[in-house]
């Protein structure tokens, strides 16, 4: 299935892009999107322990199941305010 990945903050900066497209297996979970993106952009590896994920604008875990057309967001802990 096709997944859109959005990156924010220091994760976006490490990748050098705010948006990439992925092709994942039909049983993929959010953690697979993370793993696949990290494989393509090894500089993301530094965020392994702190990274947060969202699927379709909702907070998600690595176990959250994906479906075709979903948007996965990858970002560090938030620091607004």
């Amino acid at each position: 299935m096709k997944i859109k990945v959005l990156l924010f903050g220091s994760c976006r900066e490490a990748v050098g892009s705010g948006e990439i497209d992925l092709e994942l297996s039909d049983t993929a979970v959010a953690g697979d999107a993370w793993a696949s993106t990290t494989q393509r952009f090894p500089s993301l590896g530094q965020f392994e322990r702190s990274v947060l994920l969202a699927v379709n604008e909702e907070h998600a875990s690595k176990e959250t199941k994906l479906k075709d057309g979903d948007t996965v967001a990858i970002f560090p802990p938030v620091s607004g305010g």
Binding site: L6, F8, G9, S10, R12, E13, S50, L52, A54, E57, E58, H59, A73, F75, P76, P77, V78, S79, G80, G81
Partner: protein
């Protein structure tokens, strides 16, 4: 509530206008938190702050925060949260939170809760720009 206000904007925040839009005859207290860019961090002069937002999700999370406030403090009359993004100079407002209520205790508590929670849950990030470099501010991991 329909008349609460949750916004992400690139423009300067119109704080007085926001308060005006939220004010009803039921309110006796308006508590407003205004987060502004400070001129230094740990003694190091700051030039500006660069804010980045995942805007549609940020607005969703703000609405959720509004729901949480109404559950905890049913007496609240109106809630307004506006967060700005882009590059902000010293003394510019990054976030304004307004809570109105018939009595002051609830408005204070809910407003303080709102900014504490926003900093944990709303997907916005900031980078400090110094004269000789820049640093992403480390966020807190959620509870």
């Amino acid at each position: 509530m329909d008349q609460d206000i949750f916004e992400i904007t690139r423009e300067p925040i119109d704080k007085a206008g926001l308060e005006q839009r939220l004010l009803t005859g039921a309110a006796g207290a308006i508590v407003t938190f205004d987060g502004v860019v400070r001129n230094q961090t740990k003694g190091r002069p700051v030039v500006s702050l660069q804010y980045e937002a995942y805007a549609p999700m940020a607005v969703k999370e703000m609405r959720r925060l509004g729901d949480e406030i109404r559950e905890r403090w049913p007496e609240v009359d109106r809630i307004g949260i506006v967060h700005r993004f882009g590059e902000l100079k010293i003394s510019e407002s990054s976030v304004v939170i307004v809570v109105t209520s018939p009595h002051r205790r609830v408005a204070f508590e809910a407003c303080r809760f709102a900014i504490d929670r926003l900093k944990q849950t709303v997907p916005i990030w900031k980078k400090e720009i110094f004269e000789d470099g820049e640093v992403w501010v480390e966020g807190q991991l959620p509870d």
